[in-house]
């Protein structure tokens, strides 16, 4: 089923009638996710936010399948949401059975009834802090209208998150996100070091840091901090 501009308009108007300002942040996110799910007539919608380990964690989900998506992406360290988050672009996979971009994740996802995904990065602080995603258990081509609709919901999520981060309330989510932003800063510095020293691309630099963290069973932010400290010492 296709998403029309009229559907989106109506859904946004209904969301607008909710008293967002008086809700707890997690309730508000949940409302956005439920509406996204309904409007897309898909099998699941979710809002994921990064943690200090650079993993995307579910903040609100409309369906159990979205939990699979979280698990599988963390296990395989790849997937459409990870790419959307890392590259800060919207990413659509219409059929994971034949998509070669994330081979390990794709196979595992199809086994768990996740076959198509559309993921949109949530911007904050000149970076991405998470994604809004929808998924389908069937093959599902994502139209331009669908991308546009997901962007509209991403805008709402981004505004809510910025409001949360600038508010005084110390929620669990706000703390998680602050950790993510702190670790992201040091990871970016470490990437810069590798790019400068070894002439790697940003993507390859990140892969190298991640591989090292996994091999040494250390946190990615700790490995990054070491890299930066060593570069400073060696001038």
């Amino acid at each position: 089923m296709t998403v029309t501009t009229e559907d989106v308009r109506q859904a946004l108007n209904e969301l607008g009638r909710l008293r967002f300002g008086e809700m707890r942040i997690d309730e508000a996110m949940h409302q956005i996710v439920e509406t996204t799910h309904a409007i897309f007539s898909v099998d699941g919608a979710g809002l994921m936010l990064a943690d200090g380990e650079h993993h995307l964690r579910n903040a609100a989900v409309s369906d159990e399948r979205v939990r699979h998506l979280e698990d599988l992406q963390i296990r395989h360290q790849e997937g459409p949401c990870v790419t959307a988050f890392d590259d800060k672009v919207m990413v659509g996979a219409e059929d994971l059975t034949s998509d070669r971009r994330w081979p390990a994740f794709g196979r595992a996802a199809v086994d768990r009834d996740v076959r198509a995904v559309l993921a949109s990065p949530i911007p904050y602080n000149q970076d991405a802090v998470g994604v809004v995603a929808v998924l389908s258990r069937e093959r599902h081509p994502w139209s331009g209208e669908a991308e546009l609709a997901l962007l509209a919901f991403t805008d709402l999520a981004a505004l809510l998150i910025a409001s949360m981060m600038m508010g005084e309330q110390q929620t669990v989510l706000a703390t998680q996100l602050q950790n993510a932003l702190n670790s992201r800063a040091i990871i970016e510095q470490a990437k810069g070091v590798l790019i400068g020293q070894q002439g790697l691309s940003a993507h390859a630099a990140y892969e190298q840091i991640r591989a090292q963290a996994r091999a040494e069973r250390r946190k990615i932010a700790v490995v990054s901090a070491d890299l930066v400290a060593r570069a400073v010492r060696e001038g």
């Binding site: 607008g16 967002f20 300002g21 919207m90 000149q126």
Partner: protein, 124 residues
């Protein structure tokens, strides 16, 4: 509200060749009203900043929101859509006023349907 424009994505950072400080957004929130003054160009590279500046409106829920766009020289559709999203968080009976948009800015506001939800003052 129609959403006709489609920004392909948002860039992570301001690119090195775009002059920093080109955009200044001031937000004043008082008891019942909020005023946002936007001077400069709003585009994909400024999306993150616009989100941060608009976010206090969500908590303030002003009865009257004024967007002063006299100094806004350019606005892309994504930014207009974002402003429309922020307006969804203010109470239904709030007044939203856009002041002095240039012809170019006004055209984008019309394209995104944002003008239907606001009063526009001092248009050329």
């Amino acid at each position: 509200m129609t959403l006709l424009c489609f920004p392909s994505d948002f860039p992570a950072r301001r690119s090195a060749d775009s002059a920093p400080g080109l955009l200044v957004i001031k937000v004043e929130v008082s008891q019942d009203s909020a005023r946002v003054v936007i001077n400069g160009e709003l585009d994909l590279t400024t999306r993150s900043l616009l989100i941060e500046r608009l976010s206090p409106i969500l908590r303030a829920r002003p009865r009257r929101l004024v967007l002063d766009m006299a100094g806004t020289s350019f606005i892309d559709c994504g930014s207009a859509r974002l402003i429309a999203s922020a307006i969804r968080f203010v109470p239904e009976d709030s007044r939203v006023i856009i002041r002095h948009p240039s012809r170019v800015v006004r055209r984008v506001l019309e394209l995104t349907g944002l003008d239907l939800h606001c009063e526009i003052e001092g248009a050329p």
